[in-house]
Symmetry: C2
Subunit: 145 residues, 2 copies
């Protein structure tokens, strides 16, 4: 398996172990992970620290030229906010664990020139299926439903 | 003048006084401000706390039914990330101080059913014009250029 996706899944599991929503993300630059993160809605009462946002924040202030060579991994299809963050920083490549349990605005992101790959990873799907079944109200809050 | 825009401008000025990027935002629900914020790139080394994001975070975890009756004010046209946050939470109305110095994806946001009003407020324009002239490298970093 893609080791970067595996690292994103590890982040998702860290979130789950802490009582949070199991979505993880890593930012990869020139073959190395420069930031990792996971959803912090429960842990920090955050409405903006989705996994990808937390990952970008943990990656620190990077030059535009760095972002423009990065790949953003997420265990789940990025929502409008996280997709917009990728567009803001002109991250050219987004690799997504799965979009079965939730689908963000992938067509719009692609229309802006970003390569979006969907892996349909079974572990990512199971993490979210189990979580949504267990905590539907928390999941709905996270996606504004 | 719109007192909510004035409150957003006050936030922008707080940011400027702290050495930061002068963009402010407030979230209004049923005629009352429920959150305020300003850009925190300099102050907290943040790449995700644009004014609107900081405002949403400071507003705390709200129900979907609350967001769906809110108006988000920003002194500047929201970037793709902040526009995406408004879309995630289905905030139906965005009021923008100006879009002369920077323009986010307003057409896309409108296409998703959001009412976007642009006020072209002179004070908002001057805040950003002066800041961009003084700190172009910082401004470029904030918009991924």
């Amino acid at each position: 398996m893609d080791t970067f996706l595996q690292a994103a899944i590890e982040e998702a599991k860290k979130g789950l172990a802490a009582g949070g929503i199991p979505i993880g993300s890593v930012l990869v630059y020139e073959g190395k992970i420069i930031g990792r993160g996971h959803n912090q809605r429960v842990q920090h009462g955050s409405v903006i620290h989705h996994a990808e946002m937390n990952c970008l924040e943990n990656s620190g202030r990077q030059k535009a030229s760095v972002y423009q060579k990065c790949t953003l991994y997420s265990t789940l299809s990025p929502c409008p906010m996280c997709s917009g963050a990728a567009l803001l920083y002109k991250i050219p490549h987004v690799i997504v664990g799965e979009n079965v349990t939730f689908q963000g605005p992938e067509a719009y992101v692609r229309s802006q020139g970003v390569k979006v790959e969907i892996l349909q990873n079974e572990e990512c799907i199971k993490l979210m299926r189990d979580f949504i079944a267990a905590r539907p109200e928390l999941w709905n809050e996270d996606i504004g439903v």
